[in-house]
Symmetry: C2
């Protein structure tokens, strides 16, 4: 990522690194951020089972006209989550987990690793913000999706970086933090997001069709229902409930 890829004169907006997974939330974030920042998208190939998500991220960044980097990190080397460890099954329904317990789809320290790379990228291109689609409503079981966590990361980041030392700490923007899925969808539609291009499913097929059964699919489907908007998700034939 080069500091002079984009001439400062090309935009009056401050720069931001936007974490883009290719899912509904991060795509909404990108659209929101483009109204405020000159955006650079960052995705991670982290041994996730659903690589079609990265194809979606690539296409979405291209459509948005933003520079995009995919960073290859192998969390499989560490294991410990149903999303990266083949020996742990992805549950189709996590609603029977104990209230307050951490879901098996939680990936240890994932957001911390992602935000750390974003911090490095932000320093290199002199970005003033990192935008991440963390949500504390639907993902209250994940420790690293809570507001206190984000505040603590921002404090650490201010001490960790050249920008912070020089008095201009890089901020962590979480526009979706307290929004319901329906409100996120409304926000995205206001910013022109085409949700048929986004993939949320934990086990989408190679063409990006969603299973319709996993926790992420359930939350997403309910979001469109609650928002009173037709669900444009491409479901695998057997589970297409449109």
């Amino acid at each position: 990522m080069s500091n002079d890829n984009v001439s400062p004169a090309s935009s009056q907006k401050p720069r931001a690194i936007v974490l883009l997974s290719g899912g509904l939330d991060s795509t909404t974030c990108l659209a929101w951020a483009q109204a405020r920042y000159e955006c650079f998208a960052l995705s991670f190939s982290y041994g996730q089972r659903h690589s079609s998500e990265l194809d979606a991220a690539r296409a979405l960044a291209k459509r948005a006209g933003v520079e995009h980097r995919i960073i290859d990190i192998d969390l499989r080397q560490l294991g410990g989550s149903a999303l990266t460890d083949d020996s742990i099954d992805v549950p189709e329904d996590q609603s029977d987990e104990l209230p307050g317990s951490i879901p098996v789809t939680y990936v240890p320290a994932r957001n911390t690793i992602f935000l750390s790379y974003a911090l490095a990228a932000a320093e290199v291109i002199n970005a003033s913000a990192i935008v991440i689609g963390i949500n504390a409503v639907d993902y209250s079981g994940y420790p690293d999706c809570r507001p206190d966590y984000i505040d603590a990361f921002a404090k650490m980041a201010a001490l960790a970086t050249r920008a912070g030392v020089e008095g201009n700490p890089i901020t962590i923007e979480t526009p979706l933090l307290q929004l319901t899925k329906a409100a996120i969808i409304q926000l995205g539609l206001e910013h022109g997001v085409d949700y048929s291009q986004t993939i949320s499913c934990y086990q989408a097929d190679v063409n990006g069709y969603a299973c319709g059964r996993c926790d992420s699919c359930r939350l997403r489907r309910q979001g469109f229902l609650d928002a009173g908007v037709k669900d444009p998700t491409l479901y695998q034939a057997a589970t297409n409930q449109d």
Copy 2:
């Protein structure tokens, strides 16, 4: 990294992830940590120019009898430092940099990325600590080598992880934080470290011979002088000053 690679019954000591670069400081940390913890070493292949450091880390971990993982991360994709960006020269003498300025060998957010991976690894194996050879005496110019930074990372980590949520936050141990290079060498010698096996040079050759001229070599050489100990470093012929 498997949670049951080592049976809990095999050791009464709590577990720790030790960040091991193969240099003088981290090797001292590993020796220190082995007296207190059941240790698991973690190294990073991050596009550093001196890959002989990783060979040293491999050999040192083997000699110490600890499980060792090398995580491949490509900071070159992000650029921004003389240590990872071929377009920036490694200075032979940084002493003419402005006091309080950040050296060009600073790698953006490097320690934050390393500690984030260590945090993930610690969660997976139920380690109670991460040990890192950060030093605030010789590296005061690096924002992410300061005590305040480590404190902030630990606070963030407590909020980020399952262990933290469950009331047993993973601690960040920095046994070298306030030690001079001479004191670090003394500590290592007390724990049986063979410093001829460690590599500190920013531009060591493929056989691990040090340049003797870069900032890291200067600090190291002075450390042995101040400790009153013969410098066992293998220098490239032209600069061998023994």
